[in-house]
């Protein structure tokens, strides 16, 4: 007879010395884990609740400006710094970690409308309503040692005067050209005091401009005549124009998919387009209740942040129609500009109340260095919460956000208006011959036409 019995010797299964780690044995057989789905569900519920407990997105405000902040610029080479320009001509460089001003760039007489930094981070270009474009050199020493430097005024390198007020400026990625917009789109070189090239299409002011991160010769602009125009610098003629029903306030290109851009529109939504196919929006992002003023993509390309006239900042997924997060404070008034920090962890919003505010991109994220076990635990909790987030109890907790009363009321009102219109449309359809009334898809509805 052949016989074998399980026999475990204690030495094999326990540690030798107390300095050793404990021995761990794994058996992933589902038989040993009864009711594992229920356990996962309870963990998902607890993870959702913990996430809400630790959700403290507001880090701090940077005050110093004495007028509303109209524009901001990121320094591509320096993670900790951000430039901001206000309505009284004051430009400051901030150190985000200490939330203090590093140096000031005085000079503009009117509002500063546009700010941008060159790709190597050494030059700052600003333009304003006083018809000037100013070029500044960013002091490298000041950016490195931010403790003692404060409020040091810096002289402009060059001042170029133009004929009309300038509305926006953007620098080419990797090149040495920058574009300003106002009455028309002008392409400049750093050294020349006159624009190298000019584009004009239509008679209205062009209010924003953005260069494509992937294709340095492509740029998108939006104008007061409710249009979005794409220009190619190599062709020296404008490429394409898209006319919508309402004006676009700002455009941002997706850094990871440079063919797609998202436009922040006056009709409270953002429209994502594929630059090759402008007759239909890729996605419509709807959640704001007032005009969307500014938009910026995260470096991951997976989400973007918008700031709106309704005093809130929202974060949207790049392909989702609704926001995943909303940030608001009683003290934050109309948000005019937002920026996503270059490490995708922070959001900076500049608003009407002269403050720049620093927020976390993920409200319950633990900042700082995490131990690998902590990191794994956070990842696990995120994953288990996502697996069960469609179930009612978990969904209720995950979805819950406190909205300020005016926003809540405005949302209800918009909802009731949309529902009423929809119902009327349905009834019209039901009482007319099938096929006579055609509903336009939401993605096409706001587009009037495309022009070559």
């Amino acid at each position: 007879m052949k016989v074998k019995v399980i026999s475990r010797s204690t030495d094999e299964f326990t540690r030798e010395r107390s300095q050793d780690l404990q021995r761990v044995f794994r058996n992933f057989d589902p038989k040993l884990r009864p009711q594992e789905k229920a356990v996962e569900y309870v963990r998902a519920l607890n993870a959702a609740k913990l996430e809400k407990i630790f959700a403290r997105p507001f880090i701090g405000a940077m005050d110093g400006h004495i007028d509303a902040i109209s524009c901001m610029a990121k320094n591509p080479n320096f993670l900790k710094g951000i430039f901001s320009g206000s309505m009284d001509g004051d430009i400051r460089l901030w150190d985000i970690a200490s939330r203090k001003t590093v140096c000031q760039f005085p000079g503009h007489q009117g509002a500063v409308r546009g700010l941008t930094a060159s790709t190597d981070g050494s030059t700052l270009i600003s333009c304003g309503t006083d018809c000037t474009v100013r070029i500044w050199s960013v002091p490298v020493a000041a950016t490195l040692e931010s403790d003692h430097a404060s409020n040091k005024p810096i002289e402009a390198n060059a001042v170029y005067v133009g004929k009309n007020a300038y509305w926006a400026v953007d620098h080419q990625w990797g090149g040495d050209l920058f574009a300003t917009t106002g009455a028309r789109v002008e392409i400049w070189n750093h050294n020349r005091s006159q624009p190298v090239n000019t584009f004009e299409w239509g008679t209205d002011t062009v209010i924003s401009v953005r260069f494509n991160p992937g294709e340095p010769n492509l740029l998108a602009t939006s104008a007061s005549d409710r249009s979005i125009a794409l220009y190619d610098l190599r062709m020296s003629t404008p490429a394409r124009k898209l006319i919508m029903q309402t004006r676009t306030n700002s455009i941002a290109w997706n850094p990871m998919e440079p063919l797609n851009f998202t436009a922040a529109n006056e009709d409270c939504s953002c429209y994502s387009y594929d630059a090759r196919k402008l007759d239909e929006a890729k996605c419509v992002h709807k959640d704001h209740v007032s005009a969307v003023m500014d938009i910026d993509y995260s470096p991951t390309g997976r989400e973007f942040v918008t700031g709106s006239y309704d005093r809130t900042v929202r974060i949207f997924p790049y392909n989702g129609g609704h926001s995943r997060e909303i940030y608001h404070t009683k003290r934050m008034q109309r948000v005019f500009c937002v920026k996503f920090s270059s490490d995708a962890s922070y959001i900076i919003s500049g608003s009407d109340d002269t403050n720049l505010r620093l927020w976390k991109a993920k409200a319950s994220e633990q900042m700082g260095v995490l131990l690998p076990r902590e990191q794994k635990k956070h990842e696990y909790q995120e994953a288990v919460k996502n697996r069960y987030k469609h179930l009612p109890e978990v969904k209720r907790i995950v979805r819950h956000r406190h909205l300020p009363r005016p926003i809540y009321k405005a949302k209800e009102l918009r909802r009731s208006v949309i529902d009423a219109e929809k119902k009327k449309e349905e009834r019209r359809k039901a009482h007319s011959t099938p096929g006579s009334i055609v509903t336009e898809s939401v993605r096409k509805r706001r587009i009037i036409r495309e022009v070559e």
Partner: protein
């Protein structure tokens, strides 16, 4: 590598072919896949379809990785007993086995004789390391099975009917004469559970931290031992109950009654989930297979029946056993204890056909009260009227344990951490259901259909029956005429039928209306001019 023997080498030397290896891999893969994949063809939403397709692929990859690494992560193989020649496994005696195995394992075969203190029942912690035994006359002991050390021994001076460990070896509950008590590992009495009264059986639901008790009148009570809240208190209403077992797969409690019925309960409903008529006589023993699909019951008419719990059908009837106690091992062996003989049955063909595997008879006159397999060991412990005995049953225990599930070599630090983690993962009582995999699934969308004719008829009859049961007031002073009573009954029945008849007439009216329109078009052409289009003024 490709050398071939000229004489045709024996089959043993040929390495397993690729096909065999892949077949083996497939069986292990099935184990980790946890069911069929989702049907994505029925989805119309392209985005959702894409996301789910990615997820399904990830599940497949993780199952494959788990199956691949099994041979390194789980080095121990299970025990086995193979008879050679004309030998039969059930004739092999324990002393023959103990002679063949190593010293450490042979120490697991022993008898402990304690003559005075009554039949002993026992319970194991989930890791199999600690055992709690209680004699009927009040002797309670906690034993560490690895070192055979007596951790605590006490005399509660009362009749003890059952003993069960709570989540740890540090807490255990004893069903004493009047109430169940909860004790600490040091023997300190922590709680006296007065609401339960005199109970005959205790069971602990590990994931939910619920202590379930049943008394001989059939009252089932659930109590949460972390908060002390009484979750459920039900009267089974099916007569005297003698047995109770918890199904480890889904947390459902099965109670066996003297009428031969087995009812299954969950703490959130006052009615049982299932009522099965299992035997012609009272149920004497109940046991659940760890995979939750098989249940073994034994009735006084000396038959053991194996039930499939998905279809609630008998899979096998094993006659000739009057087992007072049944237990399934982790590997699916069934132990039945009758008088002083313990029989172990095994399912070796994989088709749920249990046949004799091993047997053992203890000293004549000793009556076996409870058999229990030790988890993660090839050992069967029997509590009998003169103490307890432990025998070796090769192939009954799971050879590879998971440290984070149940660790026989647990240190006190690990035990404390595990306690915290299981408390954080404590399941609410609502998660107990017959099919635990339903959690997280979406209920299929049911279109509200019109009730069929039969359903309407059934409703009508039910309403009429309800009315017939009403007792009419008995009137006096000559007003209680029979004819009047009959009239009253008739009126009540007509009232109950009225709404149904009205509905029928409405439907008939609608149909008639439709037919009317149709009729107009059916008139021959020559008569059409006589059809009135407008009412005559």
């Amino acid at each position: 590598m490709g050398l071939e023997e000229e004489n045709g080498g024996s089959a043993k030397d040929v390495p397993p072919t690729e096909q065999e290896l892949s077949a083996e891999f497939d069986t292990t893969l099935q184990k980790y896949l946890r069911g069929e994949g989702a049907d994505l063809e029925a989805l119309k939403d392209k985005k959702l379809k894409g996301q789910l397709a990615v997820r399904e692929k990830l599940y497949g990859n993780s199952a494959k990785a788990a199956a691949k690494f099994e041979k390194w992560l789980m080095p121990s193989e299970g025990g086995y007993l193979e008879a050679e020649g004309i030998e039969k496994t059930w004739r092999i005696k324990q002393d023959q086995i103990t002679r063949e195995v190593d010293i450490l394992s042979s120490r697991n075969q022993y008898d402990i004789v304690l003559k005075d203190l009554g039949p002993y029942t026992l319970d194991f912690t989930p890791s199999g390391r600690y055992m709690a035994t209680a004699g009927r006359k009040g002797h309670v002991a906690i034993v560490d099975m690895k070192s055979m050390e007596l951790i605590r021994e006490m005399q509660v001076k009362e009749t003890v009917r059952d003993i069960v460990f709570l989540h740890n070896e540090t807490f255990f509950a004893v069903a004493q004469k009047k109430y169940p008590y909860i004790y600490n590992r040091d023997g300190i009495e922590l709680h006296c559970l007065k609401e339960h009264g005199a109970v005959s059986r205790l069971q602990f639901l590990k994931n939910h931290f619920l202590l379930a008790t049943v008394n001989k009148f059939g009252q089932l009570r659930y109590q949460d031992v972390t908060t002390g809240e009484m979750i459920g208190n039900f009267r089974t209403g099916l007569g005297r109950t003698e047995t109770m077992q918890v199904n480890p797969f889904n947390g459902v409690i099965a109670v066996g009654h003297s009428g031969g019925t087995v009812s299954m309960w969950k703490p959130t409903s006052a009615a049982p989930l299932v009522k099965m008529l299992c035997h012609h006589g009272p149920i004497s023993a109940l046991a659940f297979h760890p995979n939750g699909q098989l249940m073994a019951t034994c009735g006084r008419e000396k038959k053991i029946k194996i039930w499939d719990l998905r279809k609630f059908e008998v899979v096998q009837t094993i006659p000739g056993h009057h087992a007072k106690t049944l237990d399934f091992s982790q590997k699916g062996l069934l132990a039945a204890g009758t008088g002083s003989y313990a029989q172990v049955l095994g399912d070796f063909s994989g088709s749920q056909n249990y046949s004799r595997y091993m047997g053992h008879s203890i000293a004549k006159g000793y009556q076996i009260g409870k058999v229990s397999f030790r988890p993660y060991e090839d050992v069967l412990v029997m509590g009998h009227s003169m103490g307890w005995s432990s025998i070796l049953i090769p192939g009954s225990g799971e050879p590879n344990f998971d440290t984070w599930v149940a660790n026989p070599f647990e240190t006190s630090k690990q035990r404390r951490e595990k306690e915290i983690h299981t408390l954080l993962d404590k399941l609410p009582p609502e998660t107990i259901m017959l099919d635990p995999s339903k959690i997280g699934t979406v209920r299929p969308y049911k279109k509200r259909e019109k009730p069929t004719k039969e359903e309407i008829e059934a409703e009508k009859e039910a309403a009429v029956e309800a009315v017939k049961d009403i007792a009419l007031k008995k009137k006096t002073k000559g007003r209680n005429k029979t004819s009047k009573r009959v009239m009253k009954r008739k009126v009540l029945i007509d009232k109950a039928k009225k709404p149904f008849i009205e509905k029928e007439m409405q439907e008939a009216g609608k149909v008639a209306g439709k037919r009317k329109l149709g009729e107009e078009t059916e008139l021959p052409a020559s008569l059409k001019r006589f059809v009135r289009k407008k009412a005559a003024v």
